[in-house]
Symmetry: C2
Subunit: 223 residues, 2 copies
């Protein structure tokens, strides 16, 4: 059985979990906190990051969330998430990179630093300027998502794809940490509400990171 | 004809150029400097980054270097760079991510900031502490590359792959900027010397970024 090494607020692990949920691939969770620099995580992934998807019985350990998602797409045909022509697949991958890198660097990463790392690891108060900057950047990213949803059925085109899962993974962590102000972003809010009701997403919304409480709307499907 | 929007010291554009060189795909260069925030680059790539691979005649514009490399691999069969089983392909992609993210964040990115951006854009002296830190991090990355080369024929396994091209692209920019001390890294130095003599690499080594001069060994194939 697959084991996913992750922690509840890792957006890249959430993306892999959404892929496995959509493809109905069974797995169990193994808790891994990258900041504790465990020998096991370093052995499984030289980069020392989550997620790692391992199958000890078969001696497989896959690292890097995009490499894992491509592997799952290649090996499990059902519910394709990278379908279409090569140009359409390039568009899906462009958006995945935009969300994994841009949305993470500008929004999810700073929120995790200020509201999780400082609370759980370094025991410092959050920097309110960094939080304001992350929320301002979130509005810009939501503007672009609104535009995508205005012009397409799903983020990358006519089909649900890895791009939707990558965006939802980042936004769900940012929303958990109170960093998303949905006002003025009805398009993205509507897309996200549909997403929250999917069977692949429901289990994620029920999980908590100890010591950090999400806002009341976080797990509500119609909010 | 393909047009690659790039600048000479962009490591991600170099990776795409190496792929196109290995696959002997014709293209012309279009100079794009992301820090000038041109409207054309923003129109071609919402993230405002290089590289962009465009074919105006066919109305195609591909962005994000990994998405571009996957597209070229899917559409041009010769000289495969992502071959093998799904597990082997996952290993290639894991290493590409490690070099694109880890090696860039720790080494190439800081060197570009201190030795290119500060000289060409902001006209400031480089921060010697940041340079020392990047060179220290380079040694750690070279240690890992040495280990890979000790245990495998090429970085990801028995065949030349996108992982080798991604590492060579980052290292070539770091070497241009005088940030690589090869002493004690004979394995990686030997692998890199072989690489420098490949027809895909030779044109890159002849190019200069105005105002920034590489060390004398940079373009020598046997150094």
């Amino acid at each position: 059985m697959w084991q996913l090494h992750q922690f509840p607020l890792c957006p890249f692990s959430r993306k892999v979990r959404l892929v496995m949920g959509e493809k109905t691939i069974a797995y169990e969770l193994v808790r891994a906190l990258p900041w504790e620099r465990s020998e096991e995580l370093a052995r499984l992934n030289h980069a020392g990051r989550t997620p790692v998807l391992a199958d000890p019985g078969r001696g497989i350990a896959l690292a890097d969330s995009r490499a894992i998602c491509e592997y799952l797409e290649e090996t499990v045909e059902r519910s394709p998430l990278l379908s279409g022509s090569s140009a359409q697949r390039a568009e899906i991958r462009r958006l995945v990179a935009l969300f994994d890198e841009g949305l993470y660097t500008d929004v999810t990463g700073p929120l995790l630093q200020e509201k999780m790392m400082k609370r759980v690891v370094t025991r410092q108060p959050p920097d309110s300027r960094a939080l304001r900057e992350a929320m301002r950047a979130a509005h810009e990213h939501l503007d672009y998502l609104d535009w995508l949803i205005d012009t397409r059925q799903w983020l990358a085109g006519p089909m649900l794809s890895l791009a939707d899962l990558a965006a939802a993974a980042q936004l769900s962590v940012a929303d958990y940490l109170g960093g998303i102000d949905w006002s003025g972003h009805e398009q993205t809010q509507g897309w996200y509400a549909v997403f929250k009701s999917r069977p692949s997403f429901r289990p994620l919304l029920q999980e908590k990171m100890e010591g950090i409480h999400p806002p009341s709307h976080y797990a509500l499907v119609d909010a």
